[in-house]
Symmetry: C2
Subunit: 265 residues, 2 copies
């Protein structure tokens, strides 16, 4: 089964909403939790509990655990393990990138079956070229997992780089998409990324698994997904976090259900 | 004191060799250590011990610890703490990148005084634009620390992206260098990176702290540093790992001393 087929099956079975697990300091405070590894752990486990049975995909953000050092990392692996035990597809948002044996070590850490931090997919970054991620793709392929490579993002500072034109005439964003497609993996495309300015359109993205952050509090409406992604909407995992997590521990289950409903394309 | 002044002082005081701490599986085996978090910890502590008094800078590679999960992360923080206690300048090679509160959380994790993983500098990646790293620069500035942003790398897959031309006529690599200079931080430039093909030359890099991997086993001779970096050679931290670490636990102190001697420009 290709990675695209796996994502298609997850979406068909449990929808395309991807719930972000982002225990930043402000949210921990709002939830009445300590700003510590233990607080991040409790936060993550509550989100997993609320997501179970309501959505298919959760996306823990490594940075918010890593800021608590080694105990934070242990909390992250516990949250990932709980999510996988609950049958959720876990997308580790780690944005790792490097070359050779180094990037291979990252992939080993996040995508090896049986290890504590085992996820179903990881995000990756390719400033050193998509080819620099070959070890990530290989590890993912061997385990029936996947990588989502940053391609077109929504932050205004990103346009100048991602719209830069390579010697072959393609923009950086377009070439990243094309090369990741050849590798059989997925891309990260912000819901409000300026596709045309980046040399992209929906047909360039069609048929690929797409992680699309930027829904909810970050500006795009989930219901607008088909309009935003056109021919590429089928395999979009629509990520929302702040607009869900702001509901607090008592409201999060309902917030997830409402967001999931809005993300039924 | 600016970050460039801090790097200048380290180099003046203890030389420019940067010893990589890369406990990958093959090296652990060669050193007679277990391929585990404990093995990576022992490996790292032995390198720190051998580096102390012989060089100024060590560069632990996060990936080789992260592959051992949370215990690996704990091992990494222990190695970092031991190195700082020994008076070494610790450059955490983590290549983190993201935006907003997420990238701020990464910077908090690696650059906050008093925390377990506190380093003196971290590597960062800016596929989302150098501006996406502003929180990293701010945290570093507040703590008298620094960031080294990937600019021009040596792997062949990187050229097409880093040589791509932006709307303002600069290559991605050149604009990254210019923007990091404005921010007052450092760059990563491979010792064998094809500078001319990336729209760079030594004057474009002069005066900036430069982390230069690629010496030793990766192809460049330390003694060739002045020829490779020209006007920018002054603030180059010349990183070598495999050619040092291959000496094994009994030979590493001598290997570090020999490499340090060769790196005296």
């Amino acid at each position: 089964m290709s990675f695209a087929d796996r994502v298609r099956a997850v979406i068909a079975d449990r929808g395309r909403l991807c719930v972000g697990i982002d225990p930043h300091a402000g949210l921990l405070r709002d939830w009445g939790l300590e700003d510590s590894a233990a607080g991040a752990r409790d936060f993550g486990l509550r989100v997993v509990e609320a997501a179970t049975g309501r959505v298919g995909v959760v996306k823990p953000q490594a940075a918010f655990f890593e800021r608590h050092g080694a105990p934070g990392y242990a909390a992250l692996t516990e949250v990932i393990a709980a999510a996988r035990t609950a049958g959720l597809f876990v997308l580790a948002d780690v944005k790792r990138g490097d070359i050779g044996s180094t990037v291979d070590a990252y992939a080993e850490g996040w995508l090896t079956p049986g290890t504590a931090a085992e996820a179903d997919a990881m995000t990756a970054v390719a400033y050193q070229g998509v080819g620099s991620l070959r070890e990530v793709f290989a590890r993912a392929d061997a385990a029936g997992k996947g990588a989502f490579v940053l391609a077109a993002t929504s932050n205004p500072e990103s346009v100048a780089l991602q719209a830069a034109v390579r010697a072959d005439g393609r923009t950086v964003a377009r070439a990243t998409v094309d090369e990741v497609r050849e590798a059989g993996h997925g891309i990260v495309v912000g819901a409000t990324a300026p596709l045309a300015a980046l040399g992209l359109d929906d047909t360039a993205l069609a048929g690929m698994p797409i992680l699309a952050p930027g829904f909810g509090a970050q500006g795009a409406r989930l219901a607008d997904g088909p309009a935003l992604f056109g021919a590429a909407a089928e395999l979009v995992l629509a990520a929302a976090s702040r607009s869900i997590l702001a509901a607090g521990p008592d409201g999060i289950a309902d917030a997830i259900a409402a967001h999931a409903e809005e993300a039924r394309w």
